[in-house]
């Protein structure tokens, strides 16, 4: 967790503070300024309309996933119902927007995420007072139950949830400021990017407070936390409420982006998605969920165009990560951190080469699995559409034995070759670390 990093990071930061004020402030603020600049120029690099939409979605997901990690990564609370605060934030935001439009209130669009935040905080407190009575597995099940409760209520409270169609609004009808009506996507992108940056800074700052540190302590050893004077339940309750606040902001941003909120935003699917994003990115660091949010959003948009069973691939990717890389992508990157810190660049390059070599059979194996899956899908459900499908832009006849034989060969051959590379990768890894230890100051 960033506690290992932070154990290291704490000391440099401490030393930074003992330097003259200006230098310290610059060092702390530099990464955020760089991020702000990056957010600002991204639309200039990715100019298409669909890219802009995807960037907007990524911004929303980053806030949502980071809020989720306040629970799981920081405090050890596994929630299956976090979308409740996201969705309710969206609903309250959309109702607020409609009320503002109807009553011509002088409230501009950029302030709407505050409504989402308020909603998230409110419901976080209400449901959190009940949820945080238990921890661990029980908490996870309770979050699931509460999520279902709210999702099912959406069919009953039709006035608030708008029934099956949901509630819609028009973001251009609010008070215009600086001549912006937020009709074009580019304006919405900058709104989202601004709020995303704000939330990122806020959530990062939270980890560097006494409360944030105790969240980690409660995650590690709740009993010990009691015996140093902290009530673990109170720590969890506050974490839960604050996580709800930021989820609500994300939900409001989504409401602004889509101009529509429906009951699927509070449902199990949305809760599962943010869990996936945070976990795949890596719950052990602050940047993990950011990586996960970007990746999952990209996959979701790209894959759903290419194949109908993209959710299956998601699930398999998730299981694969749980089994083989439980610290996520960020964790995999962090494993190499000692090499970087020891400036062992040569060994790192060599290691990267070995990875590439091992990647080839892995890709063959993957291709075989995809072929198998797509063919099965087409034969069973889509049989009426004929048996020819297009996999990687190659026409394949799902009914012919040759295709199945090809899949079998790809899978078996790919797996066998891949297996052969494992000892090579292992050896290269140890080699790289040994060299780094010899060369520099690897711990």
């Amino acid at each position: 967790m960033s506690d290992v990093a932070s154990g290291v990071a704490n000391v440099p930061a401490r030393e930074a503070l003992s330097q003259p004020g200006a230098a310290a402030v610059v060092r702390l603020a530099a990464p955020w300024l760089a991020l702000a600049v990056a957010f600002a120029i991204l639309p200039a690099i990715f100019t298409s309309g669909s890219a802009l939409t995807m960037l907007s979605l990524m911004g929303i997901m980053i806030v949502f996933a980071l809020s989720y990690n306040m629970l799981l990564g920081e405090t050890g609370l596994l929630s299956f119902g976090h979308a409740v605060y996201y969705g309710l934030g969206g609903f309250l935001a959309v109702h607020a927007m409609n009320t503002i439009i109807h009553d011509r209130l002088p409230i501009p669009l950029p302030l709407i995420p505050l409504v989402g935040g308020f909603s998230g905080l409110l419901f976080g407190i209400i449901f959190g007072s009940v949820s945080t009575r238990r921890a661990g597995t029980a908490f996870a099940m309770i979050s699931l139950g509460l999520g279902e409760l709210v999702a099912s209520s959406s069919l009953i409270l039709r006035g608030f949830f708008g029934g099956e169609e949901g509630v819609s609004t028009n973001r251009t009808k609010l008070l215009h400021v600086f001549g912006l009506n937020f009709g074009p996507q580019i304006q919405v992108y900058y709104l989202i990017a601004g709020w995303c940056l704000l939330c990122m800074i806020a959530m990062y700052a939270l980890t560097r407070t006494p409360f944030g540190r105790m969240c980690n302590a409660v995650r590690e050893n709740p009993e010990r936390a009691q015996f140093v004077g902290y009530n673990p339940r109170m720590v969890r309750f506050i974490a839960f409420s604050l996580a709800g606040l930021f989820a609500g902001i994300a939900g409001a941003l989504a409401a602004v982006n889509f101009e529509l909120v429906n009951s699927s935003e509070v449902g199990a699917g949305q809760s599962g998605l943010v869990l996936l994003a945070a976990y795949i990115g890596g719950i052990g660091s602050f940047i993990g969920p950011v990586i996960g949010a970007v990746l999952v959003t990209w996959l979701e948009v790209m894959l759903s165009d290419v194949t109908d069973v993209w959710q299956l691939y998601f699930g398999l990717l998730f299981i694969g990560m749980v089994m083989f890389a439980p610290n996520g992508i960020a964790g995999l990157i962090m494993m190499h951190a000692p090499l970087w810190q020891a400036r062992a660049y040569r060994p790192m390059l060599r290691l990267a080469l070995v990875y590439l070599v091992a990647l080839a059979p892995a890709l063959v194996l993957l291709a075989g699995l995809i072929l198998f899956t797509e063919m099965t899908y087409h034969l069973s459900v889509k049989a009426t559409e004929g048996t020819t499908i297009s996999v990687f832009h190659i026409a394949v006849d799902a009914a012919s034995a040759k295709s199945w034989a090809a899949a079998a060969i790809l899978i078996a051959g790919g797996f066998w070759l891949f297996r052969m590379t494992w000892p090579v990768v292992g050896a290269a890894w140890h080699e790289a670390f040994a060299q780094a230890r010899g060369a520099g100051s690897v711990k």
């Binding site: 560097r208 407070t209 006494p210 302590a217 590690e220 009530n231």
Partner: protein, 249 residues
């Protein structure tokens, strides 16, 4: 006359039908170093759990500085000035040594659940953490992940976490368990240093440590205190000898 630091009045604890603590009464005045010894299974750790709030007594009263704390949750008792260590090392394994101690000083410095103040900007937190680390001689290991420390270092960290909050009453559960003679001697010196001016109650098996440190010894056998006196007299007490050796020496 000031109230004793710890007062136990006819404490009982049953687990189902099994009686573990069967009527323990004890009074430890402030500033005393008190050792609790006894054969395995006597209920010593259970007694600590009752005092520190981890278990609720079946009957009886626990008083801290004169106030009734029976049945209060551990964090409340801790806030009232009692801190304890554990027989099986109970630290924050994936946090660094520095973080472990820092978490232990936060409440006593009054920061509570503050999520609006940056922790790096709190000089008293940093100063106190450094001081504790110096006293347990782990200042050079402050960046190491607590879970990978050597055993004796983890025990020292455990003691550090226990005293970091500045509690006036300290309970140490077998602090020198599993240590070599040299390590135990260092632990004793540390304990003597940190318990200066505080009340110390200690569970120990190492008689050398006990007789070295304790002002007073109580002997717990089958959930009851069979003797409570100064070390010299405990050594000669027949009931104690019988309990430990089976026959009178």
């Amino acid at each position: 006359m000031t109230a004793p630091a710890i007062e136990l009045v006819d404490l009982h604890k049953n687990f189902g039908a099994t009686q573990i603590i069967r009527g323990v009464s004890l009074s430890v005045p402030a500033g005393q170093r008190h050792a609790i010894i006894g054969p395995n299974g006597a209920g010593k750790s259970t007694l600590f759990n009752l005092i520190s709030g981890r278990f609720t007594p079946t009957s009886g009263t626990v008083r801290l500085n004169g106030e009734d704390v029976t049945g209060l949750p551990p964090h409340v008792i801790n806030r009232r000035g009692l801190s304890r260590s554990f027989q099986v090392t109970n630290i924050f394994p994936r946090l660094s040594v520095w973080e472990n101690i820092r978490c232990a000083v936060l409440w006593s410095l009054g920061y509570k659940y503050a999520f609006w103040r940056g922790i790096e900007a709190l000089p008293d937190v940093r100063a106190r953490t450094e001081a504790i680390l110096e006293s347990i001689e782990l200042i050079n290991r402050r960046r190491v992940q607590a879970g990978v420390l050597a055993y004796a270092e983890q025990r020292a960290l455990e003691i550090g976490i226990t005293i970091a909050g500045g509690a006036g009453i300290i309970l140490l559960d077998e602090p020198s368990a599993g240590m070599s003679v040299a390590e135990a001697a260092r632990a004793v010196a540390l304990i003597r240093k940190v318990s200066e001016g505080r009340t110390l109650i200690m569970i120990e098996h190492d008689m050398g440590v006990v007789f070295d440190l304790a002002d007073r010894i109580s002997v717990l056998v089958y959930g009851q205190i069979i003797a409570s006196d100064i070390p010299a007299r405990i050594k000669q007490d027949r009931a104690v000898q019988t309990a430990y050796l089976g026959t009178a020496a």
